[in-house]
Amino acid sequence: MNTLKVCEVSVVYPGSDGGESVTALSEVNLTMEQGDLVVALGASGCGKTTLLNLIAGFISPSKGYLTLGSSTVKGYPRVLCGKDIGDEVTGPDADRGVVFQKHALLPWLNVIENTEFGLKLQGVDKHTRRERAAEYLKLVGLEDFHQHKVYQLSGGMQQRVGIARALTNDPKMLLLDEPLGALDALTRESLQELLLDVWRKTNKMMFFITHSVDEALLLATRLVVMSPRPGRITHQFDLNFNQQFLDCRDARKVKSSPEFIAMREQVLAIIHGDELAVA
């Protein structure tokens, strides 16, 4: 039911002013099931964000197709979906929550109003949506910050509000575009652990983009390594470092284990190989 399939998907951006068109993604295949935490890793320009935009429904594939459950995902405005085209096509919708690198919170709303915003859009009554929002704010450790202004929070707290907001909507999957990329190293590590806890508690599908090899290895159940020009998936690894972490709750121990180091070397070799090929 909750399976995401990406089948032979290519995305070609037309060149501006008669320039050459750019192939951002070339024949990508990917399958995600309930409870998968897929991490996409690769150098800049390898099409990670394009893949996320496709899954979110912000853009349409040039070739191939994506399905989530029984519906096809395309970059369609919602007015067209359901009525004219039918339920089998969906654009961006509440079943796929998104968290960006720079928070996309609404500064005119406070923390709890931001968190409940999705439920408000769907017409859920105030009492219920407050309760749900409070629940997820507690999950990310912000139970004492309901009335705070979002623009006065630290970067880490803003991202936690963003994650709580996406979760409050109870989506089938969470799309995270370098959500920890702009944070300092310590905050970043604590949020990695928080994300793993959230993932285990909610058992959501997650698609996570990062530049950091360590972060990718620690979080992923499946690691997808991508290469640029044209953007494509070159390697996929099934990993269980996140399970090791959740068992022992010691990220440093997991990261210093011989298997982790060996895996990191292997992945770095792939990515550096790409860079050499480009240079």
Binding site: A56, G57, F58, P77, R78, V79, G91, P92, D93, A94, R96, G97, V98, F100, K102, A104, L105, L106, P107, W108, F117, G118, L121, Q122, K149, Y151, R165, A166, N169, P171, L175
Partner: protein, 328 residues
């Protein structure tokens, strides 16, 4: 040979010493000067010196206060200086007029203007008191302002969000925007006559374009991530426009509203040229026809003060309504 080089060396090393000796007597009189200055300052502190000292104190670079950053150009409070400079110009005005340097028909004295201001408040001028004139003008300006906001803000947002609307309204607004209101005033009189509606329409048109353009600019200033996240939480396009874009455009719209009010005051006098019986602009025009200069100046001062007060109100509203401005 050796003696020659020796002597050359001696002369070359000697010259800087000489220079040093030369510069010493130069420095000494300076020191004496400053000593004398200090002595004279201590002996007789004249009013001018005191003033100089105070000006120095007021304009001297001050230490960075908490909450400020070092190096911000023009940092610090300028209110005291503002009050002083205002008083200075009023004093200059008083000296020039009371001293008889300028004839009252060109520039009456401040006291005369204040006296006239009281007179027209109590007895009136050109058939109405100052309050009645002011009331007529304020009704026109704020009537036009409310109308311009009610039409301009939704129109600007729609133009920003909709390709078809942009195509229809963009050329129209861009065409009439740079036209001076006086240029199309005759046309409005031909169409609407000479009663209130033509006056309000003229002010309304002057105010509409900055509001529309600022609302439209506000739409494009909303971050695409905020819009995409809203869609990903199940928002309809209508909800995105009303709950994300319209709110996110508020800082720009507020700026546009401030500019519009300014345009309103500048257009007011033109509007009240047309068969007005009341209005502060009409009062000034009427006074100028009869060379009653003190009423002209009184009217100008009243307009200036009211416009300034309104701008202060808008700034206060801005701080209250969009405290997040700049954090987006």
């Amino acid at each position: 040979m050796t003696s020659m080089t020796k002597s050359m060396n001696a002369s070359s090393t000697g010259s800087p010493n000489k220079k040093g000796a030369d510069s010493k007597p130069d420095a000494e009189p300076q020191m004496v000067d400053s000593k004398e200055e200090r002595e004279s300052a201590a002996a007789s502190v004249s009013l001018l010196d005191k003033l100089q000292l105070n000006i120095k104190k007021m304009t001297a670079p001050s230490a960075v206060q908490s909450g400020e950053y070092f190096g911000t150009p023009g940092a610090g409070d300028s209110r005291l200086i503002g009050v002083c400079s205002t008083l200075f110009f009023i004093a200059l005005w008083a000296i020039a007029t009371e001293g008889g340097f300028i004839k009252p028909i060109f520039l009456p004295s401040p006291l005369d203007v204040v006296q006239r201001l009281i007179d027209i408040t109590v007895d009136g001028f050109a058939g109405a008191t100052l309050v009645e004139h002011l009331n007529a003008s304020l009704v026109r300006i704020f009537g036009a302002f409310i109308l311009a906001c009610l039409i301009g803000i939704p129109l600007g947002i729609t133009i920003g969000c909709n390709r078809v609307f942009r195509g229809i309204f963009d050329p129209l607004i861009e065409f009439y925007r740079p036209l001076p209101p006086l240029a199309y005033l005759p046309l409005i009189i031909i169409w609407l006559g000479i009663d209130e509606s033509s006056k309000v329409t003229l002010i309304f048109l002057a105010m509409l374009s900055p509001i529309v353009l600022s609302a439209r600019a506000g739409v494009t200033s909303v971050r695409i991530e905020q819009i995409q996240v809203a869609y990903s939480m199940g928002a309809t396009p209508w909800q995105v426009i009303t709950q994300v874009i319209a709110r996110g455009a508020m800082p720009d719209i507020m700026t546009g509203m401030r500019i519009a009010i300014g345009f309103g005051w500048t257009t007011l006098v033109a509007a009240e040229m047309v068969a007005a019986e009341r209005g502060i602009g009409f009062m000034v025009l009427n006074a100028s026809e009869f060379l009653v200069t003190d009423v002209v100046i009184a009217g100008i001062i009243v307009i200036g003060i009211i416009a300034y007060c309104f701008d202060l109100l808008m700034r206060y509203l801005e701080a209250k309504l969009i405290p997040w401005k700049g954090y987006n």
